[in-house]
Symmetry: C2
Subunit: 358 residues, 2 copies
Amino acid sequence: MTRLTVWQASRILYFAEVYIKIEKRGNILSNRVLSILRKNKDEFCSGEELAKQLKISRTAVWKHIRALRKEGYSISSHKKRGYVLEAIPDLLLPEEIQYNLRTEILGKKIYYFSQTDSTIDQMKKLIEKQIPEGTLVVAERQLLGRGRLQRKWESPFGGVWFSVFLKPNVLPALIPQLNLISALVVARTIKSRTGIEACLKWPNDVVIKCQKKGDYPFKKICGILIEMNAEMDKINHLILSFGINVNITGEQFPVSLRDKVVSLHELLGREISRVNFLKELLRNLEEVYLKFKEGNTTFLLKEYKKNSIVLGKKIKVIFPDKQVVTGKAVDIDKEGALILKSGGKKERVVAGEINLLN
Amino acid sequence: MTRLTVWQASRILYFAEVYIKIEKRGNILSNRVLSILRKNKDEFCSGEELAKQLKISRTAVWKHIRALRKEGYSISSHKKRGYVLEAIPDLLLPEEIQYNLRTEILGKKIYYFSQTDSTIDQMKKLIEKQIPEGTLVVAERQLLGRGRLQRKWESPFGGVWFSVFLKPNVLPALIPQLNLISALVVARTIKSRTGIEACLKWPNDVVIKCQKKGDYPFKKICGILIEMNAEMDKINHLILSFGINVNITGEQFPVSLRDKVVSLHELLGREISRVNFLKELLRNLEEVYLKFKEGNTTFLLKEYKKNSIVLGKKIKVIFPDKQVVTGKAVDIDKEGALILKSGGKKERVVAGEINLLN
């Protein structure tokens, strides 16, 4: 059994309340209050000024301030001088993600959940309502987070769990490529925000090399799942989902997983801004996605291969039909298949579990 | 403009009424009445006997007889002798399809529509309700029948329009194979029920060789569409849809299509039993589907190739990106791709429009 930390417990209570508030408020006016406070930076802005700019009463201003505080914004008030924004919560709130996001497609529309079953399942419900490409579903916590092959994916508070809705006009056969380069995007973002070198385990696990002896040589820091709806010669749409262990402490993982997974918090010994991490990830993802749509992935696949922990290694492949083959991973082809050299013959692996040998 | 034939107009009125009736009645008791009448073959069965066997009143028996007549069953009644089944309508009614169907998976559950937007769209709605594998959606007429690449598919009364729900535990990469062998199943069924030789145009068009000079050399008799929901290494489910021109007269097709499509009715000069055609098709499909799931398709692909009108021919391929390549179609590989030999080089074609040259 895992014990709930005080921090976790307080967050659960906190989110339950915030959740209802966010669902109810129309967002727009609170956002405009926030936007004015942001612009003023460390300077106070009087309630009168806010009321005037937004054409609302001072009581209404006060209500929006209260709503923002409930969401975790720290706003100081001074009877004469007014309000000043002291601190921004590190919640994955749509207005935080969208602030200076600088993307053209991704995150123009964001659905936020303090907790939900899984962002994939929420996205599926939204797709019926005709959402635009690039729509995001973000959750602070997933109760039924999904991994590959219907496995469970632990998604406690502190991680970055989200799904993106995409409609690339490409053949279904190209999606395994997107699968690979999405992992590359995560590794790039981890490197640029934390300096940590993340590696790639075919097809799309992002892993960290472990130093300690006797430990698993690689621990998983991110999982990616693609669910696509396609005809034979056309992608209708796909849901690209990420689960990234960012500000998660070791004890938040179940004991059984602790030697297989790791978080940025564990590696750095401190929290990072999840909002900034996600924003950079979205920018990187968009850049790579545009290249993918243009068919311009040669360089990306080269970079993927450079970061691969599998290539050049002796590996064991457990195929979906449970057949086991050992051999050397010699290449990854254009369609994203792993080329396995076994007994003098080359074999294309399109799916399977990879285990590194020695 | 196409003129509505008297036959068509009467059918439309007829179906509009039948549709509501079928939706309303609980089916079960009418089916049992039908089943008793069927067993009695050409012998009368008294109202009393029916009432006794079904434990309902004679008035209730009469109501079910009336309901069955509305669906097109011709049932004679004689004051003293009772009822006898004279003729069965050639509608694709679930009870007709399921009678002596002899399949294990396909058609155990059937949703029937006298008319609907498209069987695919109806199936999509049903999937959310957790339907079993092999569920069928059948329509007498589709208002928005869909072809490949969002094209329209003409689906007037008299055709066989249906979708099957499948959950094969195979890799997404294998689905193009299923696409090919589904077309083979239709050609096999046409041959065995009518003696007509149907050919296959890669990937999955079923076509008929035309004799007349100056005409299109091949006319389309069936189109197949697969829509799949998949992860990278797992099919979640797929909808396999068929549109087969069975009892359609030439004038039911729009003028613009008449030199490109053909129906069994046109070829034979008479109607055939659509119910029996569909039943045989389902049996053939199940046989092939089971082999596909076992990975046992070598023989099927060989048969497909034998019936291909493309192999060995000079062809023009229009790729999805509008690029045009001419060459010779030399093979179809295990993954269902067409191998094109052009300028000494071999190229795998996974999607595109094929035109036969000379």
